[in-house]
């Protein structure tokens, strides 16, 4: 129990102008500590909602979430959560280094001093060692997202939640960041939940791939790709990869 992220029978319903909307319906899954879960699904399948439930930004209407035996709220207060948003969400008046330092300045961050990683090291880890003093508007989209990954990792969180972090980047940048993310994941041994709507990305990154179906958001299938742990981008051209990608793509088709 304490070695798993487990989501049990989670449903989320909102009240909107058009009546009650069910964003998630009876979602359950489990991943081991140190795992990498890719959450794949079309828009409207509630994948972002799922991350928000896991990070205590939303309380589920029904069901429960346990992160290594603790509730999301406890984990958040212990600052064991890292969150990477779709648009980097850097504070534009802070330099790259100051943005990475933010988690150590707020929410009692100072008490994390013992376990916290150094902002310089984090920037080096994401390949921005020479960009400490740049403001966000001086950085490219890919570099901004790298800063936000460094910021999420600086508190040495147990779990890293990523909400389509590379969705707005060009393919070349995205490929490179995918490769580096796997390296970072191996080096830091953080448990990662990664939301995407790209089959390639999900299959390349995930040790497990959770496929969701939309309206209402529910689990279609939990897939464990048959691929080696250590993988380079070239794996995407192998027959094994292409076949499994086709399988995932078929799962995204509307249920008849």
């Amino acid at each position: 129990m304490t070695d798993f992220v487990s989501v049990a029978n989670v449903s989320v319903r909102f009240d909107s102008d058009r009546g009650a909307v069910t964003a998630l319906e009876n979602v359950s899954f489990e991943i081991p500590r140190g795992g990498f879960l890719a959450i794949l699904g079309p828009s409207g399948c509630g994948k972002s909602t799922l991350l928000r439930v896991t990070s205590d930004l939303i309380t589920p209407t029904e069901g429960s979430v346990s992160l290594f035996g603790s509730s999301p709220a406890e984990v958040r207060r212990r600052r064991d959560l890292g969150f990477v948003f779709q648009d980097a969400a850097l504070l534009p008046w802070r330099t790259a280094r100051e943005n990475v330092e933010l988690p150590l300045e707020v929410g009692n961050g100072a008490r994390l001093a013992e376990r916290a990683r150094s902002p310089e090291e984090m920037l080096a880890l994401v390949g921005l060692a020479d960009w400490h003093d740049s403001l966000p508007h001086e950085l490219s989209g890919g570099m901004r997202q790298r800063v936000s990954i460094a910021r999420a990792l600086v508190t040495a969180p147990k779990i890293l939640l990523m909400d389509e972090p590379f969705g707005s980047l060009d393919e070349i940048t995205r490929d490179r960041l995918n490769e580096e993310l796997l390296r970072i994941w191996r080096e830091t041994q953080t448990t990662v939940l990664f939301v995407t709507h790209s089959v390639q990305e999900a299959l390349y990154l995930g040790q497990q791939v959770l496929v969701l179906a939309p309206h209402p958001g529910r689990v279609r299938e939990m897939v464990e790709p048959d691929l080696p742990q250590e993988r380079g981008l070239e794996i995407r051209d192998t027959e094994r990869f292409v076949q499994q990608a086709a399988h995932l793509r078929a799962l995204l088709e509307p249920v008849p």
Partner: protein
């Protein structure tokens, strides 16, 4: 001199020349419109007196600017944290704003006497509303993802205010402060129109009654120059403080 400076300078020079030419060609009497040369001569001749009268006006503008903007920043901060207070006071603020400032001025002078206080208050009042509106906008229009980030980081309300909202509001604040700088000068002058014996406003009234158009125009030029310098000072500070926003929202 750069082209972007040269063009407006040339326009100004041409306008002054046309003004002078019209006055000369149509023989306009000096008590109706003075020639630019006459205004310039009066300005240098009476410079000491004009400068002496600019001092109280400048002090009233500065004080009014300070008091008015400080009050609106404090009120905007309260509004953002207490929605009920905003709902109770904001409509009232809009109503007060719609009363013309020239109509409020005599009331304040009657109430507060003939010293600097009513002028400072009028200048403050005129600064208050644009800054209030912009500051409320700047404090509340925060990137929703940045707000979620702060929640994930378990940041307190105070931390969210000082690390996020306040910085976010600075471009909006400075946009309002630049308007407030020239508005506060107008406020101080309007205040001085009502029974004052010194200040730019008083000098304008005196010069008008005496048909001393040279002095009138020279006084107006001095007030305009002060107003431009005041705004330029705010722009200068803005460039030092707000370095991150290439496009100001």
């Amino acid at each position: 001199m750069k082209r972007e400076h040269m063009l407006p300078a040339a326009t100004l020079a041409s306008l002054l020349a046309i003004w002078g030419l019209v006055v000369y060609l149509f023989n306009v009497p000096e008590y109706i419109v003075p020639s630019p040369l006459h205004v310039a001569r009066t300005f240098t001749r009476d410079f000491g007196m004009i400068a002496r009268n600019l001092v109280p006006t400048a002090i009233e503008s500065f004080l009014g600017f300070f008091v008015g903007n400080l009050a609106s920043i404090v009120m905007a901060t309260v509004f953002v944290h207490q929605k009920t207070v905003e709902q109770a006071l904001f409509p009232l603020a809009i109503i007060i704003r719609s009363i013309p400032i020239v109509a409020i001025a005599p009331i304040l002078v009657l109430m507060l006497g003939n010293d600097m206080t009513p002028k400072v208050l009028i200048a403050a009042l005129i600064c208050f509303f644009p800054t209030l509106v912009n500051m409320v906008k700047g404090l509340s229009l925060v990137d929703p993802q940045a707000l979620e980030l702060m929640k994930v980081l378990s940041a307190s309300k105070t931390e969210i205010f000082f690390k996020l909202r306040l910085y976010n509001s600075l471009p909006y604040l400075f946009a309002a402060l630049k308007i407030a700088a020239s508005a506060s000068v107008i406020g101080a002058i309007v205040g001085e129109w009502i029974g004052s014996t010194e200040g730019i406003g008083a000098l304008i009234i005196q010069a008008t009654y005496n048909f001393d158009t040279g002095l009138l125009y020279a006084t107006i030029a001095a007030a305009a120059m002060f107003s431009v310098l005041f705004t330029a000072l705010i722009s200068f500070i803005e460039r030092r403080v707000v370095k991150w926003s290439p496009e100001i929202g």
